[in-house]
């Protein structure tokens, strides 16, 4: 008999798990423990419309407080879970309270990867992960402020675009030979580099940061090529690391994330995990992976909730991602690894095109730039493993969903 379900982590996954548990009729005790004081909120706008001030904080919330009251959710917000005793099925909080559970769901998320170079702890060096990080960055995004972004991934580039909107002078330093190199095709990197350049962002690739300097507060970034870049504010976006501390300390299997099976169950049968913190199998792609994505958090939380209620459900999703930079929307579905062919549909100069990745005749992934039709069609084609005709794909006049 399951009477108490504990959820650690108040992000997308934690919020979704509550919803599924109650909708599926679980009437027992649900406790949500979150180390941030806010009600569960969405993170993607933090580097976009929330950072620019276009979106107020209350619009970030998944649910009003009344929703949690009506659904009898005990919220323990602003509280950190410090220890997990899997044998005793207990979680200890920083304030000394100990909570027992029948099922535990870990939605621990990921933490920003930190710089380790000299000067990394100077004032004026920021990371963007939670609402609490935003205020100080916003305060620094003043007209003519010299903003240096370390890392040309989603967060760095979205912050760069927002900085330009706020009138800042923005420089992006990227270690690889092109921006977003881990997630998009070279042609897409080129498109976005050009977009950023046309708005005044200075992007330097092949640039490794070796130190940050300043008297008490950061004043410049020093790079391996000997160049330095003056900075009033630095935002670091160099990836994230799965948060696994209490899980690994409790003896749960962890390996670049908390290891879960296709039911989102950890190596302890009473403990489940969902979202950015998991290393999970993907039946569709036939390999293990760790994803940082809203969809993955949402869907794994649903799957975990159902399995916690002993309703066997398998997590098998084609992942998708998006990024907003200036007035461009980048939509990505699928994972391109192992492709043997890449086809560009449409002309990047038209500001609307897509890149399709194939293995044989099977579509593995699509990157769509301002092209929601190809993106939506691809979601279905990839999930259903529809065999496609490469010649028709290459014909930009043929709708992707008709390219069979």
């Amino acid at each position: 008999m399951i009477s108490t379900i504990l959820i650690i982590g108040g992000g997308q996954a934690g919020a979704q798990a509550i919803d599924t548990l109650r909708r599926e009729g679980f009437g027992g005790r649900i406790v949500l423990i979150g180390d941030e004081p806010e009600l569960p909120y969405q993170r993607p706008p933090l580097s976009k419309k929330y950072l620019s001030g276009e979106m107020a904080a209350d619009r970030l919330l998944f649910r009003h407080r009344s929703f949690y009251d009506e659904h009898r959710i005990e919220l323990k917000l602003g509280q950190r879970a410090v220890r997990l005793d899997a044998q005793a099925r207990q979680v200890a909080l920083a304030d000394g309270e100990t909570l027992s559970y029948d099922r535990l769901l870990l939605c621990l998320g990921a933490a920003s990867r930190r710089l380790t170079c000299p000067g990394a702890d100077l004032a004026g060096v920021h990371y963007l992960r939670g609402i609490a990080d935003v205020g100080a960055i916003q305060a620094g995004l003043k007209p003519l402020a010299r903003v240096v972004i370390i890392g040309g991934g989603y967060i760095g580039l979205e912050t760069a675009a927002t900085g330009i909107k706020m009138g800042c002078e923005v420089t992006v330093l990227e270690m690889a030979d092109r921006i977003m190199n881990r997630v998009v095709a070279p042609s897409v990197s080129t498109y976005f580099s050009d977009e950023h350049a046309s708005h005044g962002v200075r992007i330097h690739c092949d640039t490794r940061v070796v130190g940050l300097e300043g008297a008490g507060r950061v004043e410049r970034v020093v790079c391996a090529d000997g160049k330095s870049h003056a900075a009033d504010l630095i935002v670091v976006g160099v990836g994230a690391v799965a948060a696994t501390d209490i899980a690994s300390a409790a003896g749960l299997a962890c390996d670049n994330g908390i290891v879960v099976d296709e039911h989102c169950r950890t190596s302890d049968a009473a403990i489940f995990a969902a979202g950015d913190c998991t290393n999970h199998p993907s039946p569709h792609y036939g390999r293990r992976m760790r994803l940082e994505s809203v969809d993955n958090a949402f869907e794994q939380a649903k799957t975990a909730a159902l399995n916690m209620l002993d309703r066997p459900t398998v997590h098998d999703r084609v992942p998708w991602f998006w990024s907003d930079q200036f007035d461009n929307k980048l939509l990505i579905v699928g994972l391109s690894q192992d492709h043997d062919r890449q086809i560009v549909r449409g002309d990047p100069a038209s500001r609307s095109f897509s890149v399709c990745y194939l293995k044989g005749r099977e579509l593995l992934a699509v990157e769509a730039i301002n092209h929601s039709k190809d993106y939506m069609a691809a979601r279905k084609l990839i999930a259903e493993r529809t065999l496609l005709n490469p010649e028709k794909i290459a014909d930009g006049n043929c709708a992707l969903k008709e390219a069979v």
Partner: protein, 106 residues
């Protein structure tokens, strides 16, 4: 405050107070209206906040933009009165708007 009437997939009617300025999706999500998943949170990137607008109200709304049009094309059972609720901002003129949530999203 404008009121929006949502009909959930199981037929239940929910009358939601929606302050002007937020989107229909946000009003629905914050109040836990069933069937609106809104995974991307309003970025027009997922088509999981698809709704049917009472045809009598369609003329009151701004028309669909290309991105929304493209998303809806492959949504679950799109109709002429389909919209993504994240693309509709609540205004005083929409007080009483009737919205139906489809049986499923995506």
């Amino acid at each position: 405050m404008p009121k929006i009437v949502f009909t959930e997939p199981d037929g239940r009617r929910r009358e939601i107070d929606a302050p002007a300025g937020i989107t229909l999706m946000e009003a629905a999500r914050q109040n836990g209206v069933q069937g609106i998943l809104a995974q991307c949170g309003g970025a027009c990137a997922c088509a999981t906040c698809h709704v049917y607008i009472d045809p009598a109200w369609l003329a009151q709304l701004e028309s669909r933009e290309d991105m929304e049009e493209g998303m809806l094309e492959s949504a679950w059972e799109p109709r002429a009165n389909s919209r993504l609720s994240c693309q509709i901002h609540v205004t005083a003129a929409l007080d009483g708007l009737q919205v139906t949530v489809p049986q499923r999203q995506g």
